[in-house]
Symmetry: C2
Subunit: 680 residues, 2 copies
């Protein structure tokens, strides 16, 4: 791992491993100075592949587009969007054709805007444009897994969620009160659908004020949290970045008094507007402000809460006070004239442009250890540091307890403190595919606890889309059904096929011993839970072209169906594998398929996956009334396997809540003969 320092970079906290600054010039790139920054360029061979970049649009191989790391609250994740919610500046350039040189991984530690032009401008050119001040880490090597692991060791161990957070979770913007939540829980229980958590979106708060609970909607919040916990259900409240400006609201008052908010050039607190109306933004980059804000989670934890999602922390800004005034003034001046078409376009543009306006991000400042830093220069750290604020506080409040924590915005480094969800996607088939493709890219950047809004957040979900999405989400650590207010209800019990939903979710629970073991191995060993197929089969030329199959943990490969009205799909097997087909956790069939291309039928009611040769996995035998992860007994397991003679598996099992990870007794190496497994 080589480290190159340019200019005078801020300390981002992304990296945990000490690396000495290299004395050589950077060798894998041609470096040049461009306006306001640096440009790193290198040639790509025709068959070279680029992996990584985390939360972005398009495929697993990132070639053919430009990606801009600049966290952005943009809910329309179409192919032309250069930025989503995070800044994940790690990529691997895999040299498929040897003459072009060694493969390498590169991490650009620059929390401002970074552009990755991965062959968009010219197919054979990789261009990275950074600011003037940044640190660049480069590691060369031939093994994709090694390159990935070296980077992960650099940035430190990924966040580990409590085991219950691997259960099925239900969310919707629009569960307003106790009775809405209770109804959701009751419906799941009534239909025998396991359920682990219900999310509280912005409506649980009093006027969207952070760390408040609306007492009309939740008259006895603590009691209700406890009651739900007796049902096996965790409540997971949202925390937004912006703090409502309201006299008498303690968080606001304290923040103002102690100078904990982001300030404008002139020293006044910056005013933006988000859900609560006008807000100030806590200066999470200021260590004291971070401690203060983190401490606020205590009240909710004391009321029994053990999971949070941090939102709106790009930060999203619906408008700034200053810019809104300007826009309104402009519109009145237009009105006085006789408006022409250009005025009209201009009016549309300035009104649309109010949201997340680039100039707003240049108009407030952070106090980083006494140094005043303009926000846009460190923009991508904001969500990271909000989440770090919470996680560091949790270490104080409940030192040995795992608390669920994930965020919308993130930067590499945040993966140590929490997971992410992939933001406000849509009920589109193309977004099911996008979600599949994002998983390995995120894992490469250290983000292991992740998943997409199952069924899609915006637009109306259909039953078939939800079934297919569910059959994929069985494998994502975060398995959460979430949707926006105003869209069609999409809880599993809202459709005719409720029995199929129940079966798919139960299959998830039966797979938990495997999925949890694999998650823990990936986290504790700095490895990937989701991998592109090529990572396991680097000698297979075709594996590099597989964009819609993933390796999940050490034993299996998945190939989700992601197109509407399909009877099944094509699958590429890089070696002979065992196809496992399930209609429920009780009904399984097995079929050995040869290396090569196959079309497999997969009905809407089925989940399928493939077991690698000489591998096996644990599969829990579930009681009829399994409701939560706690009902899955590690004692009652069948082994599904595919082996010539025997296979071995290392099973991990712990209490699921304490942070005492992985003492010897939690690992069990199990070796079974072919006859002792289920399979073929």
């Amino acid at each position: 791992m080589k480290k190159y320092v340019f200019g005078n970079p801020v300390k981002t906290g992304a990296v945990v491993k000490e690396v000495l600054e290299s004395e050589d010039e950077i060798s894998v790139f041609h470096l040049s100075e461009v306006q306001d920054g640096l440009e790193f360029s290198c040639r790509m061979g025709e068959r070279d592949v680029v992996y990584g970049l985390g939360e972005q649009v398009r495929g697993i191989n990132k070639r053919g587009f430009s990606y801009i790391s600049y966290a952005s609250d943009d809910p329309i994740h179409t192919e032309n969007k250069h930025s989503l919610y995070g800044g994940h500046n790690f990529l691997i350039l895999y040299r498929a054709d040897a003459p072009d040189g060694k493969s390498f991984g590169v991490f650009v530690d620059d929390p401002g805007k970074v552009v990755f032009d991965v062959g968009e401008t010219r197919r054979d050119l990789l261009l990275i444009r950074t600011g003037k001040d940044c640190v660049v880490y480069v590691t060369e090597g031939d093994s994709l897994k090694d390159l990935a692991k070296q980077f992960r060791e650099l940035v430190g161990q990924s966040y580990i969620a409590p085991k219950w957070a691997f259960g099925y979770q239900q969310s919707r913007w629009g569960y307003l009160n106790e009775s809405d939540v209770r109804e959701v829980v009751e419906n799941h229980r009534k239909h025998g659908i396991p359920l682990e958590a219900v999310y509280l979106d912005i409506d649980y708060m009093k006027d969207y004020k952070d760390f408040t609970v609306d007492e009309e909607r939740f008259p006895d919040f603590q009691g209700f949290v406890e009651k739900m916990r007796r049902e096996g259900v965790h409540l997971v409240p949202i925390i937004d970045a912006g703090v409502k400006i309201e006299k008498g609201y303690p968080v606001y008052e304290e923040g103002v008094r102690e100078n904990y908010f982001c300030r404008e050039e002139n020293g006044e607190n910056f005013v933006g507007a988000v859900w609560p109306g006008k807000v100030h933004f806590p200066d999470f980059l200021n260590a004291k402000a971070r401690t203060w804000f983190g401490g606020k989670y205590r009240r909710l934890i004391e009321q029994g809460i053990d999971g949070f999602w941090n939102d709106m922390n790009e930060p999203a800004i619906f408008y700034s006070e200053k810019n809104l005034k300007k826009v309104l003034d402009e519109i009145s001046s237009i009105k006085d004239d006789n408006l022409d078409l250009n005025d009209f376009f201009h009016m549309q543009e300035i009104v649309e442009g109010l949201c997340n306006h680039p100039e707003d991000y240049k108009s407030f400042y952070h106090d980083m250890d006494g140094v005043k830093v303009r926000h846009d220069k460190v923009h991508n750290l904001y969500g990271f540091y909000m989440t770090k604020a919470a996680a560091e506080a949790f270490d104080q409040i409940a030192p040995n307890q795992r608390i669920l924590l994930f965020s919308r915005s993130s930067y590499i480094g945040m993966h140590r403190y929490g997971g992410i969800w992939t933001g406000d996607n849509e009920s589109w088939w193309s977004h099911l595919l996008l979600s599949i493709q994002q998983m390995p890219s995120l894992n490469l950047c250290g983000i292991l606890y992740t998943g997409s809004d199952l069924g899609g957040f915006g637009s109306d979900a259909t039953e078939d889309l939800l079934l297919r999405w569910m059959a994929f989400a069985i494998f994502t650590p975060l398995m959460r059904n979430h949707a926006a207010a105003g869209t069609r209800r999409q809880e599993a019990y809202q459709f005719e096929a409720v029995e199929s939903f129940r079966s798919l979710i139960r299959i998830r629970y039966a797979l938990l011993p495997y999925l949890y073991s694999e998650y823990m191995k990936a986290a504790l060993s700095d490895e990937l839970y989701f991998r592109p197929v090529s990572f396991d089969y680097p000698k297979d030329r075709h594996a590099f072209f597989v964009e819609d199959q993933l390796m999940v943990g050490e034993s299996i490969m998945i190939a989700p169906v992601y197109t509407q009205n399909a009877a099944g799909r094509y699958v590429y097997l890089p070696e002979e594998m065992l196809l496992v087909r399930m209609r429920s956790d009780k009904e399984r069939t097995y079929q050995v398929l040869s290396k090569g291309h196959h079309y497999i039928d997969v009905s809407l009611k089925e989940a399928v996956f493939f077991v690698k040769k000489d591998h096996m996995l644990p599969f829990a035998v579930l009681e009829e009334d399994v409701r939560t992860t706690q009902d899955v007994s590690p004692e009652r397991i069948v082994w599904i396997g595919f082996a010539d003679k025997e296979a071995e598996y290392v099973l991990y099992e712990d209490d699921g809540v304490s942070k005492r990870y992985a003492p010897k007794e939690d690992w069990k190496t199990i070796r079974l003969k072919k006859e002792e497994m289920e399979g073929f």
Copy 2:
């Protein structure tokens, strides 16, 4: 064919064949009255397939979504969009499971809003919601091809474009003047890329006034048109629906004087705003206004123009004068208060909502043979009748000459007068797939002369996207590269791979004898040029699931690559076929592939297609310097074929411009022995 009349429908002109009104009750649907209209419903079996509905999003099988026929200028064609630019109310419900009854085709002749809920609400339910006044045509049968043909006979013969319009065409919003156009032509010529037409988007007009030419940009328009024609290049100007309100502008003055514009309730001419600023909308539904407007094309035809595209004829309305005033007033009243978040959202909503506002479509009226009809009731006829205005005028101006004509908005019936392009798509891979899937749906509705903006209209195209799109567009009758102002330049010569673009376009020209013959057969026999695979292989269960391959004409099947960074794709062959692979019009290889599933490699430089068993096709031998369709000699042909012993092909050839279609001598039946063909 059964005809059911409900209420008092307007005469749309969609149907040309006389059908007696049925005395039975409609049998394939359950009919019920709902608010303001009728609902037709029927059950769908699990494997039933729905084809048709023309220009809409999603797949060839329309199941799983709701489609709304209500022409809409919405440039973001994502999966959640219920309406695009047309109203194409024909579908076939194919009964894959016999117990559910016979398959049928249904055409809903209602030019107002019609909703097709094809299993979105419930997977097993087809719901059609119409207005109170409509005509419904139903035809039952077992053969998909027959059902399609019966419908096409009902609505009459499809438009036939001049042969030059089957050549390669280049367009871009932003070619401003003579010199821009000349540069485009010169660059194609310089690189040896055939080119048939250059489009003039809105900038050629003086202040966007219909039927004017900006004299600064085109000082000698007629001379320039002629000069380009000597280069083999046709200029194709755009005509927009709205007529600029400008004193002294003859089209405006005449329209006002003669009452040819759409009027509000109170009799005043309706004022909307589009590109020219404030406009009136010609009342194309008024026969006199239609004749008047159509006559205006004469001036351009006299200057040598022989092709037009009619645009903005949904009609698109950026805003109406009335609504804009209301919005501006609302914003000022907000400004006076202390704006809160709801006000802000409201402001965003009303500003965004100005475009194509539903209330605007209810606030103007047509004069249909003396009857005053509110626009929204006949909304989908507007683009149809604008195009009919032009076509009927052409019949007067140049009775025996084919003039290129296509439109953005359309309704079934318009297919007799012109084609369509599929509107303002994006440079997205998903839109390449969408374009493939739209083709058979459009053909089913009679629209044969069609294609998408090759490379994508909005967003930046990349070289690989354009190459793959080109390799598909080889087969679309309209093969036009078009892009929006402000996007990356995407003419074929703008990229490194100019040689590959040249080769792909030349392959199109070499295929012209086949493509043109097949187009003419489809048009003259009321058949489909593009077909879903199932139409040719109805006994093959898997064929019904094929969503990304098309039959093109009688001899071939295509399987375009539509994913980024792919080495090739999977293909399903419903029978043994011959894979033809071309790197250029000179380099061809052949391979027989068995019935079943295959993965085929297809490089960015290649075009591939499949020849059906016992079929053949003509392939022209091109000179090195082929520039236009006129340089493709019908005399120099090789035959590509795949036959056990021999095959037969009916070749069509005519002068390409006159309307004297298909006398006996234009058809040649050619029968060749295996040895006389190229192939395997």
